[in-house]
Amino acid sequence: MKKSFLVVLITLLLLSTAVFVSAGGQQGEKGGASVSKGPVQLEFWTRETQSDRMATIQMLIDTYTAMNPDVSIKLVPVDENDMALNMRAAVAAGKIPSIIEIDAEIAVALGTEGILDTEAADIMLNKVGKDRFFKGSLRLFESKDKGVYYAVPYHGMIQGIWYRADWFEKAGLEPPTTWEAVAKAAEYFNNPQKNTYGILVGTMETESYDEQCFTPIAMSNNAGLFDKDGNLIFNSPEMKEALEYYARLAKTSPPGPQTWRARDYYLQGKMAMFFYSTYIMDDLAILEVAKGSLTSDNFKDLKGAEFDPDLVKNTKVVTTISHKKDAGFGAVVSMAVPKQSDPAVRDAALDFLTYLYSPNAYITFLHMAVGGMMPVIEGVADTDRFLNDPKGVYSRYGKEKIMEIVDGLNNIESFGLVEGNRIEAASVIYSKKIIPQMIYKVTQEGMDVDDAMNWAESAMKELIK
């Protein structure tokens, strides 16, 4: 009896395994070899997960599919922090999306693994006109091989230090353009007793925001991760200096590990400076928008809950920080086409992308996040159509300021680009969040700077070996 039970169990087990394995195989093949006939179904992964932005993209999709009835497009929102993970899972499952909206680090990481279609990117670049793309943003997507691109830049943002110019003026402080000026002001305004703080820098171990704040500081001290030949040079005196300086700034941040969400404290008048992208422009400029993003709506009795209508007037931004040299940080988001075996899907994806680059669709897309999405091709930012955004934000800043910000897209520094050479390993380090973890260890767990750097170095070596 026992024996026969075992035999049956084992047979069934093997059977079920065989069924699953063959099902998995079939699934893989489905994603691989079939050629679709009739209507083409595209899947577009966007990192714009907010419902209003999705509605705008859906509108663009509806317009396109009305003109192209044999194409249907499914819009899938994916959080930017999960994009790399979901993409790899999709590849493993053989259910590859047709177009993905991703930032440069992820594009390079996925491209290095051979997941992205560089040929499709090239076709797209030529369609739009390679010369029209800002060189600074285009080079972020270049592979080790010159002239081969992993994805096509679509929109960009610049990060800077936004600060209360009125407070600075009153205190007689210099604008926060240098290491000394930033630290001096941060320590001057930091007054936890009165619930006001100096500067917001990222200190949470799971957030890319930390690295976005840290990059310009390290870069301005000539501290990189790699030399131009791709050797790891992370553990340097310059990097240590940068980390110590960062930890000093973190002492003037609101208590505990913080991330970009703490920008609300600035809007409530409880903080003097914060690292943030141009995405903040509409929050600052529009009373209603800012009110909507205040988490303190729930605590009306507390001081500082009222919105300050003069905030936009009193806020200024510096887009580079200088120490041994000037450094800025920004991020360019691209449209990438993952490798498809079905040429019909690839062609349809390229056709839809061509539509997304057409002036009307392009500007409609960029206006979704006024300030946060700057054009990366020439001949857009200076047009009236672009400057007249629906919320009237750009007109408050003026054409000159907008052009200055757009120009900043040419000066973006990245750990993955050293003297024009693409260091692909930097993207792996970015996506595994080694630097945020190191910052967390130093600023929150009180780990010694040397120990934290040794930890980070060995983690990096482990990743790139």
Binding site: L13, S16, F20, L85, V91, G256, Q268, T295, Q444
Partner: protein
């Protein structure tokens, strides 16, 4: 002779019948065996298999033997997370059971609107995790939260504002507190149903014998619900050992084993081999605990 033949035929027929019955039995349990094999045994074996490989998403897994296990066991962070898990499981399990017991004892008495109160207590358990997690984060926000407003601004209990939910020193306590608050209603519900099934005659007899309230609890209530509570503790320990969403959504830096697994195996680059190895180790740890517990406490 004739009789012998008949009995032989009878025995044979009964053997055939028995065989048929056995086959029918197998036929009837077949769907369950297939489902269990496909949904439970297959994933376990597949996971075990993966733990011996360097899994590559693009295909072509590389057999690495016990490499993944050695990596994990040699990782200082792993042991830290085992320790964190033990603290978390111990305090949440004790907390949910004790609070559940006290509330159940209270709710077992007669008072007006008892039905309404009894169901209201279930609220934390049925509320969606993500909604209550955000409420807790608002409450404990170091700059705007009501908790710091009262304890620091008004009562001066702290020397400075503290980010209780996120600071590495305090977040484990908040996670435990949250775990107890969120899950005690389950223990309460189970214990209450146990209490209701205790024979009232026992208490009457004890009263005649002049027992105090404590003695009634010690010698009647407690022995009656001992095994029930034992099972609740076992279930809660298993559940909380595998708890991910409540801990991760609330604090992110309380690295209990499931959170460690997630960070190790699924952040940025997927490392399925290591993830599978951790899952196996976690499984072994849990089975070890269950075996000891079942023998010692539940006395099976």
């Amino acid at each position: 002779m004739h009789f012998k033949k008949k009995s032989y035929a009878f025995v044979r027929r009964s053997q055939v019948l028995e065989k048929r019955e056995r086959n029918l039995g197998w036929f009837l349990v077949l769907p369950s065996i297939v489902i269990i094999s496909a949904l439970i045994i297959y994933p376990i074996i597949y996971n075990l298999l993966l733990s011996f490989f360097d899994v590559r998403m693009a295909g072509g897994n590389l057999f690495t033997g016990f490499r993944n296990y050695l990596d994990i066991i040699g990782d200082h962070e792993f042991w830290r997370s085992v320790w964190t898990s033990l603290i978390y499981v111990f305090f949440t399990t004790i907390g949910t059971t004790l609070v559940g017991l006290v509330v159940a004892l209270l709710m077992n008495r007669e008072f007006p609107f008892r039905g309404l109160v009894r169901s209201l207590i279930l609220l934390p358990y049925v509320a969606p995790v993500i909604a209550v997690v955000y409420s807790w984060q608002f409450i404990f926000d170091p700059v705007n939260g009501i908790f710091m407003h009262i304890s620091y601004d008004k009562l001066h209990l702290f020397s400075q504002r503290i980010n209780l939910v996120r600071s590495p020193e305090t977040s484990i306590f908040v996670a435990v507190l949250f775990g107890v608050w969120k899950n005690f209603p389950f223990s309460y519900l189970m214990i209450l149903s146990g209490l209701q099934s205790i024979d009232k005659g026992l208490y009457e007899a004890a009263e005649i014998d002049g027992c105090s309230k404590w003695e009634k609890f010690r010698y009647i209530t407690f022995p009656e619900i001992y095994f029930l509570m034992g099972s609740i503790i076992l279930l809660r320990a298993i559940w909380n050992f595998n708890k991910f969403e409540e801990v991760y959504l609330l604090t992110q830096n309380v690295k209990v084993l499931p959170v460690y697994t997630y960070l190790k195996a699924f952040t940025g680059i997927m490392d399925i081999g290591h993830g599978a190895a951790i899952a196996v180790i976690q499984f072994v740890l849990l089975i070890g605990f269950i075996l000891v517990y079942v023998k010692r406490v539940l006395k099976w």
